[in-house]
Symmetry: C2
Subunit: 219 residues, 2 copies
């Protein structure tokens, strides 16, 4: 039995909320083989590089985001029949970024209506969507879709997109504040002819899991 040695890839599901819907960054191959096919952004892990760092490196290459993005390992695909180009291991990650960036390497698509993806990438996307939905219920990951400072209405908007339903404003605000996941700033935002909105940021204590304090949803 000879030892099997394979290259290691990381593949990324990069989520953002744009145009009021959950979107993912995809990439279209410009060369054969599979010219024109849609793929997830990804790349090979380099010599001496941990996979987590590779994921962040590739995220930065594709979107410009660094620390402010949330990155989490999703699942590892390791099946010799998976990729026709050869045997490899694919460690999938998902990332949550705020939509305020500009220079994307790729194009965003509605996550639930994405084109067919090559190889196992469709499975990766499905798992990413599923994990994100799960985390929406008991973690503060959804807050990473927002910029450093945000209004509670914006937070509610993120949750409404992720949960795909309307939420009650009073109940939502009471609950998100009770969880102590966000804290007031001294700033407010004024846009248009409205009452200004108080701005919030992630709590310094920043509880990642909401479970201990009760689950955020169902509402």
């Amino acid at each position: 039995m000879t030892l099997r040695k394979v290259p290691v890839r990381v593949d990324l599901v990069i989520f953002a909320i744009r145009d009021g819907e959950l979107q993912v960054l995809l990439w279209q191959r410009r060369e054969a083989p599979l010219k024109g096919a849609w793929t997830l952004p990804g790349g090979f892990v380099e010599q001496g590089e941990p996979a987590d760092e590779a994921a962040r490196r590739i995220l930065k290459e594709k979107t410009g985001f660094e620390e402010q993005a949330y990155v989490e390992q999703l699942f590892t695909f390791c099946d010799p029949k998976m990729d026709p180009r050869g045997d490899l291991v694919s460690i999938a990650y998902y990332a949550v970024v705020s939509a305020s960036g500009e220079s994307w390497d790729g194009t965003f698509h509605a996550a639930r209506k994405a084109p067919k993806l090559v190889f196992h990438h469709g499975q990766v996307l499905d798992r990413g969507i599923d994990r994100l939905r799960t985390k929406t219920e008991y973690s503060t990951v959804p807050l990473r879709f927002l910029d450093d400072e945000f209004t509670l209405s914006e937070v509610q908007g993120v949750y409404e997109v992720l949960l795909d339903r309307q939420l009650d404003k009073r109940n939502f605000r009471r609950k998100i504040l009770a969880l102590e996941a966000v804290e007031e700033t001294d700033d407010e935002r004024r846009v248009g002819a409205h009452r200004p909105a108080r701005l919030y940021r992630l709590s310094a204590s920043r509880p990642y899991l909401l479970k201990e304090k009760g689950i955020l949803f169902p509402f």
Copy 2:
């Protein structure tokens, strides 16, 4: 930039409930280097073998269990500095087996009081315990600690061990039955001078996630 090619390992956290506590199967090295050090059971993924199959193969080698065991991927560790013997990728799995097997390759230890493990294996164990606790709250994974047929008291016992607290018998039975995760058989079990206990099995429909039907815990 030369492509980095590495061997792929799978490492397993094998859980069983024995002596009224959660235990894991560990293995003690008999040769240098690190003679006497404790490790998780594991092995290399072979040529042409998917990682999931490798995990089941190694589980069978170490415990004799096959289909009846629950196996789930946990996390992948990929860091060149992780293992002093060389660069590799370690895909960690956890497995849940009933304690009724016999020929273990290794020894069982209380999961929360395990000896110090080599390399990243301590992290793997911690993640395994954590994942198992999480799944206890909203999945039927804990039922895999039991044999094919089991009494509701046995089910309650498993949950009490995993949650580390006593549960109310009437509330527990009402809830586990409402979830339709188990179904009655025609058999009963008689042991000692007691009323016989009805035996149950996993439902044919076998809902894996309990969420849709409401969360099982908190009680």
